[in-house]
C-alpha cells in the first residue's frame, strides 16, 4: 500500500520494520501537500524544512532502537495551536504576523512523543464558522468535490486527512468544529470530554466550550493520539486531574450488550431522508453486533443552538478583547489616539463573522440585557445538560447523525448566519454539556460522505472508541478516499 494510504498504526509498524524512514515518509507527504495546496487550500503554513529535520531526528531515535509508538509519524496542527517559532494565525488577519513564542501543551506532548509537524492547517477565523469560509486565507475545498465546503471550523485539518495529505491532524471543537468537518469529509473526528485535553496555548474562543481533539482515518488512530494529548496540565485551570486510561486497549471492548440510545429529537424535522437512511443502516449494524437500541429524549435540544449563540459569543467577546493592537497582532496605520488605535486595529484586523460574534456577545453581556440573555442561556444550558444526564442513566452511548445533510456548496449559507448556525444542531449539545463525542463515516449520499455521531457520558471516550472500532473493523467506509487523492 502506498505510504499516504496507511494509517498511523500501519505507518508506525512500517517505520519500526525499516520499510521506509521518517524522512522518506515526510518528503512524500510534503510533496502531496504542495501538489494539493492550489486545489484544496488546506494549509496556511507548510513547515517542510523543520519537518525534515524532525524526521531525521526521529530516524536516529528509531535507528538506535529508542523512541515511542508515535516516533517519526507525521501530522499537522490546526493553526489555532501555538507553535514556537512558527506563525500561528488562527485564520485571522489579526494574527497574520504572529509567531508564537511558546508551544501549546498539545503540541509539546506530540513533539515529545516524536511526531513530525508538517504544517499548520487552515480554519475558520478564530474557529468561528461551520464551513471554513470565514478564514482570512480563503476557504478550504472539500476533497470529495471542490465546489463544496469541507465543514468547519477545523476544515483544513479535515480536508488534509481526507485527501491523505497527512495521516492525522489536531483540531478543536467548540460547537462541532471537529465532528462536523469529519462528517463532511468522511473521516473520524474525536472531541474529548471538556477538561480532558489541555487548552493551554490553544487560542481561546469560548473557554467553557472549547476542547482540543483529533481528526484521523480511524478510531484506532484517534485512540493512539488521545492517549498522548490527554491528561492533567497545571497551566490550564480547567484541566481535570484524572488518570489517562489505555485508549488503545479500550478499542477491544465488546459491542455485545452495549445499550445505544437513539435520540428521538435527532430524527425529527431537518434531517435529510437519505442521510437518515445511512444512519439507520449503521444503527442496524450495531444491533447485529449485539447492541440494543432504546429511544431516548432530549426535550430541550431545540434550545441548544439559541443557548450556544448567547454563551459562545459572550465568552468570545471577552476572550477577544486581548487583541488590542498594542502587544501583538495587527495594528492599524497612523492611529490618531489610543481609542482610534483599538477601534481601527480591531475593525480592520477581524473579519465579518468574528465581529458579528463580538457584537452579539457584547450586547448580551451589556447592562440591562445580561439577565434576559446570558443568565437565561446558562439556565437553559443546565436543562440541556440534565437531559443528557437522564439519557445516560438509561444507556451507555447516544447515536445519531453528525449533520442534517452531507457537504453543502461554497457560498450556500454565507448570506444568512442563522442557516449556517443551524448546521450544528446535532453537535452543540455535547459542547454545552461538556461530553465526549465522535463522528465516523457510515456511508455516502450521492458520492458524499455521511457521519454517524456517538456521544458518551463524561470521560466515556473508551466507550466511543470501542464502539467505533468495532464498526470500522467490519465496514470500510473509513478507508474510502476521494478519487483525485487516491
Amino acid at each position: 500500500m502506498s505510504l499516504h494510504r496507511r494509517s498511523l498504526a500501519q505507518l508506525a509498524t512500517g517505520l519500526r520494520k525499516k520499510e521506509f524512514s521518517s524522512v522518506e515518509l515526510t518528503r512524500a507527504l510534503i510533496d502531496r501537500i504542495e501538489q494539493a495546496q492550489p486545489g484544496l487550500n488546506a494549509f496556511i503554513t507548510v513547515t517542510g524544512v523543520s519537518a525534515l529535520a524532525e524526521a531525521a531526528a526521529a530516524d536516529r531515535e528509531l535507528q538506535a532502537g529508542r523512541g515511542g509508538p508515535l516516533t517519526g509519524l507525521p501530522l499537522a496542527h490546526k493553526d489555532i495551536f501555538c507553535t514556537e517559532g512558527v506563525r500561528t494565525s488562527c485564520g485571522s488577519r489579526m494574527l497574520d504576523n504572529f509567531v508564537a513564542p511558546y508551544d501549546a501543551t498539545v503540541v509539546t506532548k506530540l513533539k515529545a512523543a516524536g511526531t513530525v509537524m508538517l504544517g499548520k492547517t487552515n480554519m475558520d477565523e478564530f474557529a468561528m464558522g461551520s464551513s471554513n469560509e470565514t478564514s482570512y486565507y480563503g476557504p478550504v475545498k472539500n476533497p470529495w468535490n471542490p465546489g463544496l465546503v469541507p465543514g468547519g471550523s477545523s476544515g483544513g485539518s479535515a480536508a488534509a486527512v481526507a485527501a491523505r495529505l497527512v495521516p492525522a491532524a489536531t483540531a478543536t471543537d467548540t460547537g462541532g468544529s471537529i465532528r462536523q468537518p469529519a462528517a463532511l469529509c468522511g473521516i473520524t473526528g474525536l472531541k474529548p470530554t471538556y477538561g480532558r485535553v489541555s487548552r493551554y496555548g490553544m487560542i481561546a474562543f469560548a473557554s467553557s466550550l472549547d476542547q482540543g481533539g483529533v481528526l484521523t482515518g480511524s478510531a484506532h488512530d484517534a485512540a493512539l493520539l488521545l492517549g498522548v494529548i490527554a491528561g492533567f496540565d497545571p497551566r490550564d485551570s480547567t484541566s481535570v486531574e484524572r488518570e489517562v486510561p489505555d485508549y488503545v486497549a479500550a478499542l477491544e471492548r465488546p459491542v455485545r450488550g452495549l445499550k445505544i440510545g437513539l435520540v428521538k429529537e435527532f430524527f425529527e424535522k431537518g434531517l435529510e431522508a437519505e442521510t437518515e437512511r445511512r444512519i439507520r443502516d449503521a444503527l442496524a449494524h450495531f444491533t447485529r453486533l449485539g447492541a440494543t437500541l432504546t429511544e431516548v429524549s432530549l426535550p430541550n435540544l431545540a434550545l441548544s443552538v439559541p443557548a450556544y449563540y448567547v454563551v459562545a459569543p459572550a465568552e468570545c467577546s471577552s476572550n477577544l478583547a486581548r487583541f488590542d493592537g498594542v502587544r501583538f497582532g495587527y495594528r492599524c496605520r497612523e492611529p490618531r489616539d489610543l481609542t482610534d488605535l483599538y477601534c481601527r486595529s480591531r475593525g480592520e484586523g477581524f473579519g465579518a463573522e468574528v465581529k458579528r460574534r463580538i457584537m452579539t456577545g457584547t450586547y448580551v453581556l451589556s447592562a440591562g440585557y445580561y439577565d434576559a440573555y446570558y443568565l437565561k442561556a446558562q439556565q437553559v444550558r443546565r436543562l440541556i445538560t440534565d437531559d443528557f444526564a437522564r439519557a445516560f442513566a438509561q444507556v451507555d452511548v447516544l447515536m445519531g447523525p453528525t449533520t442534517p445533510t452531507p457537504a453543502f456548496a461554497l457560498g450556500a449559507k454565507t448570506s444568512d448566519p442563522i442557516t449556517m448556525y443551524l448546521n450544528d444542531i446535532y453537535t452543540i449539545g455535547a459542547n454545552l454539556a461538556g461530553l465526549p463525542a465522535l463522528s465516523i463515516p457510515c456511508g455516502f449520499v450521492e458520492e458524499l460522505p455521511v457521519g454517524l455521531q456517538l456521544i458518551g457520558p463524561h470521560f466515556g471516550e473508551e466507550v466511543l472508541l470501542g464502539a467505533a472500532h468495532a464498526y470500522q473493523r467490519e465496514t470500510d467506509w473509513h478507508t474510502r478516499v476521494p478519487v483525485t487523492y487516491e
Partner: protein, 94 residues
C-alpha cells in the same frame, strides 16, 4: 436593532465599523436576537445557571511563588511598536 444601538455596541467592543457594516449588522443582529429570543420559551424557574460543564470542578490555586522568568524581549518581538522594553501607543495625556 436600531442604528444607534449598533454604533453603541461597536463602541463598547472597540470596533470601528464601516457604513456598510453598520447596516449589515443591524440586519443580522436583529435576526440573531430574534433567534436566541426562543430561550424565553424555556421554563427556567429555580434552575441554577451553569457557567461550566463539569460539576464539582473548583478553581485551583497555586502557591504564590515566582515560576516564570523575565522574557519580555522574546515576547515583545511580536509587538507592533516597542522602545526600551516599553510598548508604544499614541500619547494619552497631553
Amino acid at each position: 436593532m436600531k442604528r444607534e444601538q449598533i454604533e453603541s455596541i461597536a463602541h463598547l467592543a472597540r470596533l470601528e465599523l464601516k457604513e456598510a457594516e453598520v447596516c449589515a449588522y443591524q440586519e443580522s443582529l436583529t435576526k440573531i436576537l430574534d433567534f436566541v429570543g426562543e430561550l424565553e420559551r424555556a421554563n427556567t424557574q429555580g434552575v441554577a445557571p451553569m457557567a461550566h460543564p463539569l460539576a464539582g470542578l473548583t478553581q485551583r490555586l497555586r502557591p504564590d511563588n515566582v515560576t516564570e522568568s523575565d522574557q519580555h524581549e522574546r515576547y515583545q518581538v511580536n509587538a507592533p511598536r516597542v522602545e526600551a522594553g516599553l510598548y508604544l501607543v499614541p500619547k494619552v495625556i497631553e
